[in-house]
Symmetry: C2
Subunit: 546 residues, 2 copies
């Protein structure tokens, strides 16, 4: 039956598959709650639930799930772990407080009140992360239009010891882009111009505030794609992607931003503009400092321009939705897919049945593509230049996997709508989680063979208290931010009280040696002696408290 | 006729192409003159020509050629530009000189004289780069066996203000791995163990002294390949590859080491061991410090262990040797190849007719694969998992290019020997240059459309004085170390007197802004306050002289 289904699907795929990618980009791109700064600003009447910042309810309640870029563990309903972490924090008394003269100065250099936001509603939005888990109390958001303005802002803030938080689309998962206390918000959303694109090399140079999806739309008619793709693409900024070293759906194919970002411009705390905008794919003169700014969450400088290697758009995209009985089969399927699909494998995403149920229950119009319910589901996407060949290859691989018992059922998308509905399931998990209530989310990276053990461990530990889910990019092999090495070394210490993934700054020793952290701190102090850039984050607070 | 030749070749390719890659790895891997430390040590009787260090002959003489990883300009016969640069340098008087008590100490910690080399012949070899262009006067080479020994050595040298030069296979092109004056040589060639290999993820962890080809040999039966491949693979060390951010032949397919190196262990000047050996493909905790050590040529620390993402070996390799009338056609062919061969394109190398003549004249048994002499030659390699499909795709692409007039002649390798002989031409250029005499070499990176202009400019300027050649990895798009922006901005200043690519430390401002260089200097001083690690290199000397 399964074979027939694949064959049947294949009949229709030939004409449909060309536009799967672009379709996927349009669909699923933005739920209202994931809207970035510009969008938020337009919907300023919006109010947020406040129970997510409840300080007191620290007990596990209802649900918790594991999934995310690779893993996220989430717990529904008023689990205020962010503020419980924040509540332990003291505002650094060395930082100044905002004064009227500061606002006057910013008005002057930015050219008017339009760019110096004090409106309460807009500040409420900018103070809050999109998951409603973190909330600051900034009284000021600045909207620079140029690198020079960013430089002037930082130079002034540094001289006045005013702490700042850089903000892009504010779609991050760990509270990196909202203030902890009263930091001045510097939102680069108005710096959204494409500066150049080279159709021979595929090198795109743009300002940091460009929305990822807008860049994709710009590239599409030229026959290129961005080397990264995220669920939040409709809101997230390329500068934020770089600052958080976003991985996303294309990592398996195009690698990390450390490889695809060719250059950056960044402004350090003292207002120095670092021009590292080389567009050459290889440039070994001196130290490659741009990597310091990739993934350092704005704590070393504000990224203002990005030069990135885009990829030729491939004409043939195929997508299969597959059911597997157990996690071992998922792993084996990954190894086989790497071997057999090799150069055309472009995504390998997995979710468990709890994640599937969540999506089915909370999103409209979603149905399980395979008829029978199964423990695990896998999405396999191939992208290549040979339509007929690619599809035949995928079909042959799936039939072989079926014969070997790795796969228990599966469908290849037969048209654009079907492909879109497959992606809707995977990309809709976060939205469904949000609809289901407050949640607690981990974003972990583990060796493939260890991945599902933690889900099972947590289920055992939490029992009926929580609903633990697993989903993510299995194809990246070993992937994704926030490696809590307790998974192997401190297995016994798994506990929601750790606040992992929420205010992770103090958890860095789980994944980095003391010598390495000490060097990070030295570099932070070298680039930002007063510590005004995105304080209380990334590195342990103890190094910076007076 | 050309069509026939391709078709005819195709008949034989099916059975042959499987082992092209492994064959290429065996062949061409090491000419005696490219031998690394271990090999050199065994051939200790070897003597070097000394005219390469002639200080006085600064006029252009005989030949000069352009080519290299992307570009090198080389001049034959006794052009002592290295020492002419070096001669301006003063030994930093803050460094101590070696004393007998130092040697005793090293004997003690390293476990005997076997690891503390004072033998003149062996020092002669270790003091000299393989191109015979740089020569130091070190009196001591240390051969640590463990990270702990490297740590003890550096801690001691730092406390004694003894300058050191880290050395791997000593196959570098810019004199980075030999002493300038009397720096103590720390050669990691004995640290050559594979520590782990994960067949699911493809992650290899090994010591820095592993020879690249040995790693390839280790991986081959497991079905994996290294993500980089170099002409010097028989000698170069993975630690040296990382420290110089080596590009090589597979960059177009697998990207740079900033993407494929997952982790490092490095020892800083004070002996601190930085464990950044995460094997996770994504890890965003804190700053990704390993990138500081990739490409910094041992000036921030000595790389002691490497974790690297290897790639599944593809079963189908095809190789075409193509002739083009002009450079514009080469460029267009590259764009078309990226579009049409997409995911299977694994190499796109070019050479001009001067390079071809050089190889034909100086290497035995080499012949031009295409019957007629042409201005430019291109090697196109495809690597994929579908034998029949890949070859048909390559053939179709070449026929189309022939019809469009982009290509004037071409052959697809019909068996292993033919493929090997094609690579022999491209990979033999450096060896042929060496046989032809002393030379002057640039290793440049330029936007593709600018690439050949510099060759033509130089020919015009040098006339009969020099033979200018061009060759390199065109497929990388915009590539390769040492971006001298004079190419666009200071075109009038092209001159051999600049010493570009030789002692490039003072030329960094051609490609980096003053603010960026200042930050590099700050980071160097942070990690190595006394400046003992690989002094006089990478960054301008003026920042470090007392």
């Amino acid at each position: 039956m399964m074979i027939r289904r694949w064959r049947r699907s294949g009949d229709f795929l030939r004409s449909a598959c060309k536009s799967l990618t672009s379709l996927r980009q349009k669909h699923n791109s933005m739920s209202p709650s994931v809207s970035g700064f510009v969008n938020r600003y337009e919907s300023k009447g919006k109010t947020f639930e406040s129970n997510a910042w409840n300080d007191h309810n620290r007990e596990l309640d209802h649900h918790s799930c594991v999934g995310g870029n690779l893993w996220m563990m989430q717990q529904y309903k008023s689990f205020g772990s962010s503020s419980s972490s924040a509540s332990k924090l003291q505002r650094n008394p060395l930082f100044s407080s905002l004064e009227p003269r500061d606002v006057s100065f910013f008005n002057e250099i930015l050219g008017g009140e339009k760019y110096v936001v004090q409106d309460e509603e807009r500040l409420e939005t900018a103070n809050t992360d999109w998951m409603h888990k973190y909330k600051g109390s900034s009284k000021l958001m600045l909207l620079p239009k140029t690198t020079e303005e960013v430089s002037q802002i930082l130079k002034y803030c540094d001289s006045r010891s005013l702490a700042v938080v850089p903000q892009g689309g504010n779609t991050g998962l760990v509270g990196g882009s909202v203030p902890v206390f009263d930091e001045v918000i510097i939102n680069v959303g108005l710096m959204n111009k494409v500066l150049s694109f080279d159709e021979v090399s595929g090198v795109l140079v743009c300002e940091a505030g460009c929305i990822l999806e807008n860049l994709a739309t710009f590239l599409d008619p030229k026959g290129f794609v961005m080397p990264l793709d995220l669920g939040a693409k409709g809101s997230c900024h390329i500068g934020g992607n770089v600052s958080t070293n976003a991985g996303g759906l294309r990592l398996i194919r195009y690698g990390s931003l450390h490889g695809t970002v060719l250059g950056l411009e960044a402004v350090t705390a003292n207002g120095n503009v670092l021009d590292m905008l080389g567009t050459l794919r290889k440039d070994n003169t001196g130290y490659d400092l741009k990597h310091l700014f990739i993934g350092s969450e704005g704590s070393l400088g504000i990224v203002t321009k990005v030069s990135i290697l885009t990829q030729p758009k491939m004409s043939s995209v195929n997508l299969a939705f597959i059911a597997c009985k157990d996690f071992l089969s998922c792993q084996k399927l990954l190894v086989e897919a790497k071997r057999n699909l090799g150069e055309i494998l472009s995504a390998f995403e997995f979710l468990d049945n709890n994640s599937m149920d969540l999506v089915l229950n909370h999103l409209d119009g979603v149905r399980n593509p395979v008829s029978s319910s199964e423990n695990f589901y896998i999405l396999i996407e191939t992208t290549g230049s040979g339509e007929t060949y690619d599809r035949e290859k995928l079909e042959a691989f799936l039939l072989k996997s079926l014969e070997q018992g790795l796969v228990s059922d599966g469908v290849i998308a037969q048209d654009i709508n079907q492909a879109s509905s497959f992606w809707r399931i995977r990309e809709g998990i976060t939205e469904a989680l949000q609809k289901a209530g407050a949640f607690y989310k981990y974003d972990l990276s583990l060796p493939v063979e260890e991945i599902y053990n933690i889900v099972n461990d947590l289920r055992g530990r939490l029992g009926d208290l929580a609903n633990v889910m697993g989903y993510g990019h299995l194809g990246d092999g070993l992937i994704e931010p926030y490696v809590y090495e307790w998974t192997s070394k401190h297995r016994g210490s798994i506990s929601a009280e750790h606040g992992l993934g929420v205010m992770k700054a103090n958890e860095i020793f789980y994944s980095k040696s003391p010598e390495t952290v000490a060097l990070m701190v030295s570099i932070k102090k070298l680039l930002d002696p007063k510590g005004i850039l995105n304080p209380y984050k990334v590195l342990p607070h103890s190094f910076f408290s007076p």
